[in-house]
């Protein structure tokens, strides 16, 4: 009780948000995770050769990007950034306002995309953009006054700049269906995909990985100069892709951007490998297995992007690229890290009255996570083969398998919340082992 009273008393200067704030974002992400696989099932006939345009594949894509990835990133960053940047939470009510604007907006947008109802689509897009704009303002305020952790701050600024590009292009693409585009469709698309995935989400993931991976692995401080080098190379790569979108030496600039981006990724992955190798915590379980697989899929997405730029004669390559990038890298690393973050955050907000507050490992649920692990990887494999063989049936198999995994993940989330209120006896899970 003491802590809750103090949280109230310390008011706006606090760095800890009430549990309800990050958890409402994570809860919504779990729901949209389930709905994304349902939407993919509905669009299984179009998915293998999907190259844009309204329909359920587009809805599934945005349920993942906006509903799961961005939703999770907002929930995590709203709590982690004030701690990492030594800044108090600026506006305690703003995160809840963001959630209320953004969450129904994602649902409307996805439904509009799936059913082809442009009014629903543009209304949802407006709501999503408004929510993200408020989030961007909070992010900017936090980064502006930030102290410490220059690696997170640098990545944060690049993510914020990418968010600005993302919002303009998103509005343009959405309103083009209503007949009032801001930019031409090819330009908007050429900016939207890389700045949304590699720019906004990617840079947040890379930046937070530099904090979360050493923290969970209990490794010594990672080399901040190398992190900055990686960030600068990534920013240059994004700039190159941005210029190329305007038709200036597009092929050469995109290849150069891929080379520079690959350097950024190599530097980042070397840092991560070093952190895991030198950490006191070696056995990090299935969560970090997913993180490692995601890193491999990040590299694979860059190779697929190169294949597209070089116009390799390979069926389904653009769809495969999107799959590797969004479901492969971003979704896999987020669900991997979230398996650690959720019990960790929940243990910080234990319900008063228990004899000893629960620890993260007693709040986790290994069985649903094991089911999710296998289903998620099986779904990714099925999707990859489905795109290469143009197989709707395999896409349906992937959707059903992914759905089972998403339901297992949602069960894990529900169990974390349940155990937070009803602590179980201390039987620490073995994956917390150190050294």
């Amino acid at each position: 009780m003491k802590r809750h009273m103090h949280t109230f008393l310390s008011g706006a200067k606090s760095r800890l948000l009430p549990a309800s704030v990050p958890f409402r974002f994570f809860g919504a992400a779990c729901v949209y995770h389930v709905l994304a696989w349902v939407a993919l099932f509905a669009g299984a006939d179009q998915f293998p050769h999907f190259s844009g345009g309204l329909g359920w594949p587009l809805a599934a894509l945005h349920l993942i990007t906006l509903g799961v990835l961005t939703m999770t990133a907002m929930g995590a960053s709203l709590q982690l950034l004030p701690v990492a940047t030594r800044q108090p939470v600026f506006a305690l009510r703003a995160p809840a306002v963001i959630w209320w604007i953004y969450t129904p907006g994602v649902a409307a947008l996805a439904l509009g995309m799936g059913t082809g109802q442009t009014l629903l689509l543009t209304g949802g897009a407006t709501s999503v953009v408004a929510g993200l704009a408020v989030y961007g303002a909070l992010l900017a305020h936090n980064l502006y006054g930030a102290r410490g952790m220059p690696n997170v701050i640098a990545h944060g600024w690049v993510a914020l700049a990418s968010l600005a590009v993302l919002l303009v292009t998103a509005l343009s693409l959405a309103y083009s269906y209503g007949g009032v585009p801001i930019l031409t469709r090819p330009l908007a698309l050429a900016l939207h995909v890389p700045f949304a995935a590699y720019g906004f989400m990617g840079m947040l993931v890379l930046g937070f990985s530099c904090v979360l991976v050493p923290m969970f692995a209990l490794s010594p401080a990672i080399d901040e100069r190398s992190v900055l080098v990686s960030c600068i190379f990534a920013a240059i790569a994004l700039l190159g892709v941005g210029v190329a979108a305007f038709g200036i030496a597009p092929a050469r600039l995109r290849i150069a951007a891929l080379v520079v981006g690959s350097v950024a990724v190599v530097v980042h992955l070397r840092l991560m490998r070093h952190a895991l190798a030198t950490g006191l915590r070696r056995s990090l379980g299935g969560s970090f297995m997913l993180v490692r697989i995601a890193w491999g899929l990040l590299v694979a997405s860059l190779l697929a992007a190169l294949g597209i730029v070089l116009e390799l004669p390979m069926a389904g390559l653009p769809t495969l690229f999107g799959m590797l990038l969004v479901a492969g890298w971003l979704l896999t690393i987020l669900v991997g890290l979230l398996q650690r973050i959720l019990p960790f955050l929940a243990s910080m907000h234990a319900i008063p009255g228990s004899r000893r507050p629960p620890t993260p490992s007693t709040l986790t649920a290994p069985r649903p996570l094991a089911i999710h692990f296998y289903c998620h990887l099986a779904a990714l494999c099925c999707l990859a083969v489905a795109t290469m063989t143009d197989s709707p049936n395999l896409t349906r198999t992937a959707a059903v398998t992914g759905l089972a995994g998403a339901l297992a993940f949602a069960a894990f989330f529900a169990l974390v919340l349940w155990r937070r209120r009803h602590p179980v006896a201390m039987t620490p899970v073995r994956t917390t082992s150190v050294a």
């Binding site: 102290r147 082992s433 050294a435």
Partner: protein, 164 residues
């Protein structure tokens, strides 16, 4: 992250030493069979180190943080974080009090089989609690000291801590 203050570095070093010991204890328990724990020389030796850590290091480390650092955090508006860390100290102290007689008895070879089982379970709980607690301090307390302590205070506190 690299810490600028001597106090942060000293506490971080202690955290790492502490984690290494806990890791060795956890591994030793994982290796030893239920029946063989009492006669495992590695476990018996580690129980001695563990009892010293429980008896001396935890109290000294926690007392210092609660006396010198948490009030400064609270003054800077970060009282909820200080309270959270303080509550975790209480839980770890309580567990340490339960563990200490078991660790002492284990080190002297005077712990019965069922006592070893309790010792194992409580030790693993201690690993779990300390890991989570150190992760929070590394993320939220130690970097904060760059702002909370000026150079002179840092020097004085670091000197006082190592002399304690």
């Amino acid at each position: 992250m690299a810490f600028l203050r001597q106090v942060s570095r000293a506490l971080d070093d202690e955290h790492r030493t502490n984690l290494e010991l806990l890791g060795r204890i956890e591994q030793a328990f994982a290796r030893a069979s239920q029946a063989g724990m009492a006669t495992d020389p590695d476990l018996v030796r580690l129980a001695g180190s563990f009892s010293r850590q429980l008896e001396q290091d935890i109290g000294r480390h926690f007392d210092f943080e609660e006396r010198e650092l948490f009030p400064r955090m609270a003054e800077a508006g970060d009282g909820d974080m200080a309270t959270l860390l303080g509550e975790e100290h209480d839980a770890i102290r309580e567990l340490a009090a339960e563990l200490l007689p078991l660790a002492r008895a284990a080190a002297k070879g005077g712990l019965a089989i069922d006592g070893w089982d309790t010792f194992r379970r409580s030790s693993l709980e201690m690993v779990d609690r300390q890991v989570a607690h150190i992760q929070k301090e590394t993320m939220a307390l130690l970097p904060m000291l760059d702002d909370l302590l000026d150079e002179e205070t840092d020097r004085n506190l670091a000197f006082a801590y190592v002399s304690d």
